[in-house]
Symmetry: C2
Subunit: 340 residues, 2 copies
Amino acid sequence: MNKSLDLIGIGNAIVDVLTQAEDSFIQTNQINKGAMTLIEEDQAEELYAKMGPAMEISGGSAANTIAAFASIGGRCGFIGKVADDQLGGVFRHDIKATGAVYDTVPLTGGLPTARCLIMVTPDAERTMCTFLGASVWITPGDIQKEFIQSAKVILLEGYLFDKPQAKQAFMKASELAHEGNTKTALSLSDPFCVARHREEFMDLIDDHIDILFANEDELKGLFQTETLEEALIEVKGKCELIVVTRGAKGSVILTSGQQYDIPAESVESVIDTTGAGDLYAAGFLYGYTRDEDIETCGHYGSTAAAAVLHHMGARPQQNISACLNRVQERLQERKKIAYS
Amino acid sequence: MNKSLDLIGIGNAIVDVLTQAEDSFIQTNQINKGAMTLIEEDQAEELYAKMGPAMEISGGSAANTIAAFASIGGRCGFIGKVADDQLGGVFRHDIKATGAVYDTVPLTGGLPTARCLIMVTPDAERTMCTFLGASVWITPGDIQKEFIQSAKVILLEGYLFDKPQAKQAFMKASELAHEGNTKTALSLSDPFCVARHREEFMDLIDDHIDILFANEDELKGLFQTETLEEALIEVKGKCELIVVTRGAKGSVILTSGQQYDIPAESVESVIDTTGAGDLYAAGFLYGYTRDEDIETCGHYGSTAAAAVLHHMGARPQQNISACLNRVQERLQERKKIAYS
């Protein structure tokens, strides 16, 4: 089937506010380290006032994937709600500047554009506090049948489940996708997000999702298992592809018949892990929408993820496309040796 | 004399919008590479729409110096005008989060907060296009006698000379400083800014400035000489201290009786030179306000400048204070050897 786009992401439209912080700051402010905590506007103001000097970089889980996917050269689009304010302008500029199609009508006269306050500790881990603002005002009306069905794959972020209208938009998109021969991918987003919506995620994965992205903790949370191995047994066969990222330990990919263990790309100095999972999905789906074999998709994921570890923020600052070409050459060389 | 602050900076209150760009982008858009060009709001919108994905980091020349000075542990303040909008909130947060005193009343109902669109080319050079917006609406009314005279040194940025009210504020501050036994430092800002206001800068330096910061091109522009050596002969004796930064070639410092040649700090990979001159001034003035000898001040300048070359943006992301301590230990060690 001819599709004009490879991938459409649907998710929260957020500007990240990133700062470097000591572990003591996380402790003093009683924030759950490494997790994403939802906060209200006044809490966001209060925390921001305490935070060190920061930088603003467009974020949002699915939006990060789309920005990276576009920068690799994929044809893609994004659906997500900003407000009609300066930060909304920043988000819109950045996603459109990657080449992605982005037409969601901004919210006027309501809450401001979503912000995610991100504290990066010396161990390079990111701890996030999100004020969802305008982003939760995405509604089924923002989901257009033609647009959804123009893509080979739509990527939905689990975070959308945190608010009712957004969840409805999510469900509408996944139904339209299935009607239109568009694959659906879901990123589970966060162990706490999984815990908040466990039953619904289970139903969704059973009925609607073709490609599942999760990290180790999210998958264990979903199946309430002690070990990854147990969770992998539980999840096997539930989707066409199950992709589990494991940080420095690489990733595991399950197809109906096989398990692939993909190593992580080695990185010299890790500054900030924000967005590494989102970038993995970008690399993986880039390979997938180009009909690469699963192993190549996995290596593309590892390479894309590595590209945002060297600097603050979840958006690529370098040419990932060149890195993926090197991956492909390396894999082809290896196959040649194996066959010779 | 007891002063409650070491340094107050007075300058444009700007949020930088940084992107990586190829040289061809600079050429196609007919922008003067390496320089700072003033643009209007509609030009800023037009250029922004063409620019790649960006990040927002607080900037402004004197403000960068103050942010770094505060992060080293200096007692300091800043005077500069933002609008009452989201980017103004970003600027205010970032400068206050460093520990600097910042109380300038924001502009309401007028132009938005100033933005500087910065294109960083692969050679790490930055090319800047600035929409001054609210920042030029700083007026003499924003300059309070008590506050100015509470500092050992005030630092004025040459860029303020680009608009009449701002220049008046500048002149008021330098007069109050002299009455109150506060030293005045001037950063020349940009060769084009120097060319725009050459005569006035000459008078100012002759009559009002104790410490002059300039880079090689700015100083040659000011005295319309071919070589740095000629410019150094011309400028000698005009101020108590003349500090000329030369990028990778280090810096030259002239006192009434002596010339000091200070090497640059060696840096492995330079990503973005934005703010290097501003950071040099922070390191130098930190030493100066602590009565360090001139050589130490120069090395502090080199070390602080190096701290922002590794990453995008002009605000420090690491602990410069620790670096300065190492400089001091190194210099003391060298003196011990010289005397033994």
